[in-house]
Symmetry: C2
Subunit: 202 residues, 2 copies
């Protein structure tokens, strides 16, 4: 049985592997014949729950990771410049995404791609709300309305609920995919996810 339900694609805006996955998303959707539902979340609250830390701050693993970000991007032919300030807080990006998503999901995906490009290619610190607003404006979003929304407690609550939902679904890293209840963690697990979908699992 082949499901046509979208595959949830969880990612954190400060995650190099999430960015690489986002760049592979369209080809991947074409290959699996399913849509990816983009669902940004925050790794900070997850790390608090799991006692983990950002990759680059873990001894030994940090050095390996910095090398692997670049190597993985080159392998997938994805443009990548490691940001000078890294990792960053991405709560403004998260809130902006869901505000746009509630109005126009396709535009929210465009915004996410533009935010990722700004951070991982152009070296813009997207931790700053004004940077997020400027990037949103560039993709055709009403900047004044977004700026007002970013201060709205309702939007803060909306974004927080998404992070809680991700955690409740078992998401502990970025990228993270859930297809018909089956979880897959990591850009390097996309081949396994593809095989899972093609075969119906094993």
């Amino acid at each position: 049985m082949t499901s046509q339900a979208p595959v949830d694609f969880y990612f954190e805006f400060s995650s190099p592997y999430g960015y690489i996955a986002s760049q592979l998303a369209e080809d991947f959707e074409n290959r699996i014949g399913r849509e990816l539902r983009w669902r940004p979340f925050l790794l900070g609250p997850v790390f608090k729950l799991t006692g983990q830390a950002p990759l680059v701050e873990v001894p030994m693993k940090g050095e390996y990771s910095k090398r692997d970000f670049l190597r993985s991007a080159r392998m997938h032919e994805v443009p990548y410049r490691h940001p000078a300030k890294f990792p960053i807080g991405t709560v403004a990006a998260l809130r902006a995404f869901y505000w746009v998503s509630d109005r126009d999901p396709a535009q929210a995906r465009k915004l996410a791609s533009a935010l990722y490009k700004a951070f991982f290619v152009d070296g813009i610190d997207i931790g700053a709300p004004q940077a997020v607003i400027d990037i949103a404006k560039d993709v055709g979003i009403d900047a004044a309305a977004l700026a007002a929304a970013l201060d709205d407690p309702a939007l803060k609550e909306r974004a927080k609920k998404e992070v809680e939902a991700a955690i409740a679904a078992g998401v502990f890293g970025s990228p993270f995919f859930i297809a018909d209840g089956e979880p897959f963690w990591g850009v390097d697990r996309m081949p396994m996810l593809e095989k899972w979908i093609r075969t119906g699992g094993w």
Copy 2:
């Protein structure tokens, strides 16, 4: 330029992904045209250095991992039964391996495979030195000589130096491969390693 130097294959005897990699080793060597040099180490001292913990003890990641051990084994068609006692200390297995390896490297590899099978298929607790000795005997190793060696401070020092060497080489997980100085962590990175070797890197 293609190097003919062996590729270092680091693994911990209590690591499911290390076990799966060991089962894929022979086909992998044939495909890459290079030998794997089996180098067991201990994750315990690494976790102390990196502040990490065994996968199954990490909240959220632990549940995912237990599911993924089984799923990964099935995907690779590797027999796997998750051990009732897990993880275990594997210092006796480590010492036995290097004692045999100094005498007959091919037999040491046979011993490693037999230890892995005992733990991940037959459910034998290979943390016990007597279990290691019994398994060694089954693959044709002099059990009495090995039993005596396991209490020898020289062998303890020999095995300790291997763990230190792995850490000095940057090894922080299992399996871990180093090919011509390039590190690859995880059984799911074997395709990347294969591509790296085929192409000479990128």
